[in-house]
């Protein structure tokens, strides 16, 4: 009798082990390059473990432009940044996720209503950051697009309202992604603070070298302009979904690179060995190229 009881207990224990809360389906993408620890773990703690639709097509990441619709022209504002909104979990009427834009990764949570085939959601960011606000958006039933608005909590910000219409996009790291020819015809928007009078134009070199694909030698980089080197190096970060805090590089990737989607604010642990070596090499020649402007010495 005791033996049978023990066996029943043992079997039921083993059976219950299989019901681990499988939140993996509701996390963004399936690649190893996805968002780093802290923001995600707080979301996991907040989401209710019951009644989650883990296979909802609505879950995942959506990318596109985050355009200013209400702004103060006298202030220094950015008209459009690229944003990724990630819907991480949906409950019966709750919705949780986070957004990554301009170097900020902020969680949001709120409620939604089913409206026909779409989901209409009202969510809020925590509120303890000066750039926090509230999103109001509609997700289509197939989970292919999100569109809506965002309103800031702080009415004194340069931009108090933004609008967006994003498309579902799953992040995939691809070392072979190069830069489109558009990039070579542009200049760096933000001036180098050391040389505020100089407009740094890029050249076709930015499309020629992919610093993630193969190990570079000094012959590849020694005769390149600083602006080109900087973009080539930052393209490595962009391939990993790095969200640029600074406008200087952000404007290039947000505006000219279609495959780019911001996903992480810290991608250092994702860099490959080839990339790390190339970053070091490029930085050396970037410094060297910079010193050639307005400096006497060698």
């Amino acid at each position: 009798m005791k033996k049978i009881l023990m066996m029943i207990m043992a079997i039921s224990l083993i059976a219950s082990c299989n019901k681990t809360s499988e939140n993996t389906a509701s996390k963004i993408g399936n690649s190893p390059d996805t968002a780093t620890s802290s923001e995600k773990t707080t979301q996991e703690k907040n989401t209710p473990s019951a009644n989650q639709n883990q296979n909802s097509p609505v879950l995942g990441t959506y990318t596109g432009g985050f355009e200013a619709s209400e702004f103060n022209e006298t202030k220094d504002y950015v008209y459009e940044n690229r944003i990724t909104i990630s819907i991480d979990s949906v409950g019966e009427d709750t919705i949780d996720g986070h957004s990554v834009v301009a170097g900020n990764n902020r969680p949001f949570k709120g409620k939604f209503k089913q409206e026909g085939k779409s989901l209409k959601a009202e969510v809020a960011e925590p509120g303890d950051d000066q750039y926090d606000g509230k999103f109001s958006f509609t997700v289509d039933a197939d989970g292919k697009t999100i569109s809506g608005t965002w309103t800031s909590n702080d009415k004194k910000l340069a931009v108090t309202k933004r609008k967006y219409s994003l498309n579902k996009k799953q992040f995939k790291y691809d070392a072979s992604q190069g830069l489109p020819t558009d990039v070579q015809w542009t200049s760096l928007y933000e001036k180098n603070p050391k040389f505020p009078d100089q407009v740094e134009a890029l050249t076709e070199d930015v499309t020629k070298i992919n610093a993630s694909a193969k190990e570079l030698t000094k012959k590849d980089v020694e005769n390149m302009y600083k602006g080109d080197l900087e973009v080539i190096r930052n393209a490595i970060y962009a391939r990993h979904g790095y969200s640029f805090k600074n406008r200087r590089m952000r404007f290039i990737f947000d505006q000219f690179v279609p495959w780019y989607m911001p996903l992480n604010t810290d991608i250092r642990s994702n860099l490959t060995e080839i990339e790390k070596k190339n970053i070091d090499l490029i930085k050396r020649y970037e410094e060297h190229a910079e010193k050639y402007y307005d400096e006497y010495g060698r």
């Binding site: 020694e222 005769n223 302009y225 020649y285 060297h288 050639y292 307005d294 006497y296 010495g297 060698r298």
Partner: protein, 215 residues
């Protein structure tokens, strides 16, 4: 040749650039194989002779600078002949045995391709050659020839200043690519200097006029 006014002006300009050269050399103290210029020489810094040559050059070349202040002064040469003699010896020793040979070896690995490498090696050879001849002439008592060879030698010493000045101007005016600049200034840095030296020798030293500063 030069009145006291121009002499003073030249000395002030020389003093300013000498100061800059000293600050460049100071970048390499304390000893570090990955600082300043060496940041783009990591592919050769592990070669023992390159390391030896590089640090010999950056640590000793500055000692040719004082000669620019003392050796061209007739006043110092007459009143303090020992200063002329010993500063001269330091100059010659550094060029012939330290900065010259090390410059030649570094030239083999110069940035800017084969053209720049040839230029720097040629520069080093001529620098040593003119200085050796200058020493030999003074030992023979041939002062005129001693002066002429030192004007040439010092013109090449000044390439440390002129090469960088050209680099600054060319980048300012044309913004070429980094190694392209190197290629250009590798020659521009010293050829005009030699040409001017020859002009000075022919116009002023060979003439019978007595020179205020340079005599």
């Amino acid at each position: 040749m030069v009145s006291k006014f121009w002499a003073a002006l030249l000395l002030i300009i020389y003093g300013f650039f000498s100061y800059l050269l000293v600050t460049i050399s100071l970048q390499y103290i304390p000893y570090d194989t990955d600082v300043a210029f060496l940041r783009i020489k990591q592919d050769v810094i592990d070669i023992l002779f390159y390391k030896l040559a590089f640090f010999t050059h950056v640590y000793t070349a500055v000692f040719v600078i004082p000669a620019g202040f003392t050796q061209f002064s007739g006043y110092i040469r007459r009143k303090f002949p020992l200063i002329h003699k010993y500063v001269g010896r330091v100059y010659a020793f550094v060029v012939i045995f330290l900065a010259g040979p090390s410059g030649f070896y570094m030239g083999i690995f110069a940035n800017g391709g084969i053209s720049a490498q040839i230029s720097f090696c040629l520069l080093a050879i001529l620098w040593i050659y003119f200085t050796v001849l200058a020493v030999s002439r003074v030992k023979q008592g041939n002062i005129k020839s001693h002066r002429e060879f030192l004007i040439r030698s010092f013109a090449l010493t000044l390439s440390a200043i002129t090469l960088r000045a050209w680099k600054y101007l060319i980048v300012f005016a044309f913004e070429p690519r980094p190694m392209d600049v190197y290629e250009i200034v590798a020659w521009l840095g010293w050829i005009p200097n030699l040409i001017i030296a020859e002009i000075i020798i022919r116009k002023f030293v060979k003439s019978k006029k007595s020179n205020e500063y340079f005599d």
